[in-house]
Amino acid sequence: MKKETIEKILTTDLRGWLSSLNNEELQLLQEIRLRTNKPLIIRIDNKEYFLHDNNLWKDDEDVYIVTEKDIKDTIEFISNYSLYAFEDELRNGYITVDGGHRVGLAGKVIVENNKVKTMKNITCINIRISHEIKGCSNRVIPYILQDNRILHTLIISPPRCGKTTLLRDIVRQLSNGFKSNKGITVGVVDERSEIGGCYRGIPQNDIGIRTDILDGCPKTEGMLMLIRSMSPQVIAVDEIGSSNDIEAIDFVINAGCKMICTVHGSSLVEVKNKPILEKLIGKNIFERFIVLESKNGIGDIKKIYDKQFKLMSIVIENQ
């Protein structure tokens, strides 16, 4: 399934190597990067590979060079032959394709009235393979779910430490029910189509059976919309940060919903000192803080703090 969705957006010249991957390698496939007149780079399990005669190659000598036509065709496949249908997405610089993969694009940006109008001459494509790690929240959930009561939680993590993956798995487990706890209704506002990886509104990742998802919706409005329309018990959002977000979170909490959200940052102290988040944390709303760190693998260390910022536990995943 995953293989087909990736194959679909690559040109025929670039498809061959995919079939030589075994299932495990396919699971660890992270990125495929195309840049005009530069070698094709494939990232598997944090290691870089090049392409040589349809085989993965470690040195960068005599390897496959991406042509202008490769890029043009790939864009056609990514956009389903209809780039015009993705004007808004182009402005943000990425398109989500079938299978939930995120395709980042870079090229010449056209600006009108100080706003990005569109992008032309796309020369760099980064296909980020969506991967869900089911069960990565197993050891964290007991800290945020106590006696059928969910605690307001903030996940703090630097980029590429797996915060979205963790959030997705938490949503899935809360929604399906975790061990003896019953499943509950979860509302997800997925502004950047990362949590659900929606394609035409249908989540491609498993986010549970009691989850309602608003795809591509701005967080602030989305949270209010969900409360009015879907009466969720928990609302999950990714990457909060603006002062509007904080107001919306206030509203959600006053409406009696539980909040689970993520934020960029490397430590609790750093996040506490961010001007906007300071306000939110100062109110003592969040009852659990989970700080992610990477040592041997992505997000393998999770530090959990309680309401008083006291370290409760350090979870180290054995990989």
Partner: protein, 173 residues
């Protein structure tokens, strides 16, 4: 003698039929052009208002009418869905050559339609609309000349058919 008369009538009939057939060709071409124009207007709507991706838009349009042109649209959509790694322009051109030859469109029309495909699906909505409008303009002009030609040559072909038949008969007798 009877055989001679029979032969003469056969020649006269077939030559006039050929004449009639050719006299109709302009009208048939303008009808096909109109159908194509209708399809293009639908495509413009699909792009502008519902932002449907090209394969879906083409398939939806092909369901709205019954004609070789709807076969043309459908077969493009079907081939695109196979994900063979071909570009829209390639598929469009191939199908135009295969299927539009069966219609009354002439080689110039087919060439225009093929050139049109080089800019389709690419860039933004505005660009798509402009591209479609350009082809519509060309088609309108072709319809106009086709009707003018019909007025000019319609009678000519018919009389040419009948008279040609008579000429052959006279020569043989």
């Amino acid at each position: 003698m009877i055989i001679k008369i029979l032969g003469a009538t056969l020649i006269l009939m077939s030559s006039s039929l050929i004449g009639f057939y050719y006299s109709k060709s302009y009208i048939r071409r303008s009808e096909d052009l109109r159908t194509f124009k209708k399809a293009l207007i639908l495509l413009r709507g699909e792009i502008n208002y519902s932002l449907s991706p090209m394969p879906e838009a083409l398939e939806d349009i092909s369901k709205r009418f019954d004609h070789e042109i709807s076969d043309f649209f459908r077969s493009i959509a079907e081939e695109l869905k196979l994900n063979l790694g071909k570009s829209l322009t390639e598929v469009w051109k191939k199908k135009a050559e295969e299927i539009l030859k069966r219609t009354y469109l002439n080689p110039i029309d087919i060439k225009n339609i093929m050139i049109f495909s080089e800019n389709i699906g690419y860039l933004d909505k505005e660009m798509q609309t402009n591209n479609i409008n350009l082809l519509l303009e060309q088609i309108n002009e072709e319809i106009k000349t086709s009707i003018e030609n019909d007025n000019k040559y319609n009678k000519l072909y018919r009389s040419l058919g009948v008279l040609g038949g008579i000429l052959v008969i006279v020569l043989f007798i």
